[in-house]
């Protein structure tokens, strides 16, 4: 398989599964994306959104129902997985339990008929890259979760694949190890200089690793953009919900003035940024991140001031999660370093640029 490819192109990739009722359900519905060489792309979404299906389609482990996949001008979706030559890291690692670490990593080279001396040299290099040089002769069962994970990565990259596919590789690790492995994966990606497609349901992981994020829901890509863009400007209500906009206020559009929109309801009148069609009178949702809400010092003026009472405090170290119930009865989650007391009144404010107003999805 060639390594100096320019781009991988998914063209309306669709995968349907026969459902119990005999009805075919599209787990992946017309996904199109072009990934240039060197890019790190994260497929992000809740479980059941089709992200793993997409990965398995690219790897060749699932046949497409429709659409095609091309590596430059070669159509690859018709090839069996063993002919595609992509490296894949599985969620449960899928290490061969009867083979030593060395034989696991060397498996792909052996299948490609690489000469023994050359293979040994490359396995040694891969072992060094994932910092497992001292464990070459152990069986996978003798390694910790993090070590197994690194063997899985080494096994996938030692063949120098044009594309590395990773299916939630960190979901089985503890929080500390997950952070360590995250930077490890980023480092390895840069060293290889090829493309990585990374499936995850963890937005922090996607934000920190990827050059570009594909946010998926119900088998379709809802937004394809750089991490900062997905974080600050979610394309729709579902993406916003998934990207940590935990506060949701059901309001009505009062007037619109270019990008700015004024919404009211629940005893509040707020000004924010309009996302999409929002004619006056439209039912809308104002979306807010807990960390974008600011706690006002007593008497100080804040934009979009809201008065409420502290209902609960979840201690979180430097910052706490404060639940504020407004006079109108709406509950706001606020992340702030400010001190607060349960039962005490609190005034919070929201910068206009951080209050995103979406049209309420048709039910």
């Amino acid at each position: 398989m060639k390594h100096d490819f320019k781009e991988l192109k998914l063209d309306r990739v669709t995968r349907r599964f026969a459902h119990a009722g005999g009805r075919a359900v599209a787990a992946l519905d017309g996904l199109s994306i072009t990934i240039p060489r060197g890019e790190f792309v994260a497929l992000l979404g809740p479980s059941g959104c089709g992200k793993s299906t997409a990965l398995n389609c690219i790897a060749g482990l699932l046949a497409l129902s429709d659409g095609s996949i091309h590596l430059d001008d070669m159509r690859i979706d018709v090839l069996p997985p063993e002919a595609r030559g992509f490296g894949m890291v599985f969620q449960n690692y899928a290490l061969f339990p009867h083979m030593s670490v060395r034989r696991n990593i060397g498996f792909g080279l052996r299948m490609r008929g690489v000469a023994d001396a050359e293979a040994a040299r490359r396995v040694d290099a891969a072992l060094k890259l994932v910092q497992l040089a001292g464990h070459a002769d152990k069986l996978p069962g003798q390694l910790s979760g993090g070590q197994q994970q690194r063997v899985a990565i080494a096994r996938a990259i030692v063949v120098e694949p044009p594309l590395v596919l990773m299916d939630e590789p960190l979901s089985n690790l503890d929080a500390k190890l997950r952070l360590e492995m995250r930077s490890e994966i980023r480092r390895i990606h840069r060293n290889l200089g090829r493309s990585t497609i990374y499936v995850t349901h963890d937005q922090d992981e996607a934000l920190s690793l990827a050059d570009r994020i594909v946010v998926m829901k119900d088998g379709t890509a809802r937004q394809v953009a750089a991490p900062a863009e997905v974080y600050a400007n979610p394309a729709d209500l579902d993406v916003a919900r998934f990207m940590g906009y935990r506060n949701e206020l059901a309001l009505t559009v009062k007037r619109r003035d270019g990008e700015r929109v004024v919404v009211e309801g629940e005893g509040l009148t707020l000004t924010g940024i309009a996302k999409g069609e929002l004619a006056p009178g439209t039912r809308a949702r104002a979306m807010l991140r807990p960390d974008d809400i600011v706690v006002a010092d007593a008497g100080a003026a804040v934009p979009n001031a809201i008065d409420g009472v502290v209902d609960a405090i979840e201690y979180g170290g430097r910052e706490s999660l404060i639940d504020v119930v407004t006079q109108g009865g709406a509950r706001l989650h606020v992340r702030s370093a400010a001190s607060a007391q349960v039962g005490a009144p609190l005034r919070v404010g929201i910068p206009e640029s951080r209050l995103l107003v979406y049209r309420e999805a048709a039910a």
């Binding site: 063993e82 690692y93 009867h98």
Partner: protein, 288 residues
Amino acid sequence: MTSSPGLAGADRTPWLAAPSAIFLLVLFIYPCLYGLWLSFHPTEGGMLANYTKFFSSERQWPTIFTTLKLALPATLINIGVALPIAYRMRVKTPGQKWVTAALVIPITLGTVLVAEGMLTYFGPKGWLAQALGALHLYDGAIRLTHNYTGVLISLVISGFPFAFLLLLSYVTGIDPVLGRAAATLGAGPWQQFRNIYMPLLIPGIAMCFCLAFVQAYSVFPSAVLLGAPAGPTRVISIAAYEAAFEQYDYPMASAIAMMMGLAQLVVVVAVLALRRLVYRGPVTGGKG
């Protein structure tokens, strides 16, 4: 670990094994030891008289090998045929449960019933002979019963479902993601089988071989009904039966039964010893 108050430190869980221990003692260990004791107390002669008689009689000791000549090929055929089918059925396909049902039905039939059926089907005037004759495919005499072949066929019919079910459970126990991982690394279907499934299956195959072999080695009804019990299929259990119920020499029958057990044990121990040489760990590829 929980234990009732006042009994801290006293682990009573071993008592859970008591019912099965009693069961084994009454139904297996006692009869076995009694048989062993009996075999050393012959009706005439010294302690080893029965064993001397067994090994000096042309009608006795060759039965060890007569039985082996039936049991070994039957076991190998059963495993050799069951393995590819079980491997093929590791992935869910439509109609799979019907195939499994069809393959397993013979297990519900007793050996005597199978033997009766075979006598009418495979006999010189049976359906098979008549069908082949009518189609002019083969007009010679069909001799598939009352000889070695008849017993071998019946051992395959009754032993196959057993081997198949056992192997199917071993095959489906292997994490299918391992095969997929091998595929993404460049392994084609045959290499996946050879490099991933086969090494992980060997311990299971060895276990299946032992159980199937022991079952085949104790063949009795089909050897009498379908074989030539006077000669080529005079298996060791027939020798024991004759000693016990024709000559009423229980000690001699016990000695023959002991030899039968020993022969089975030798094969089983040999296979299990070989099994120790290969990987026997978990068959999944990491954390679930």
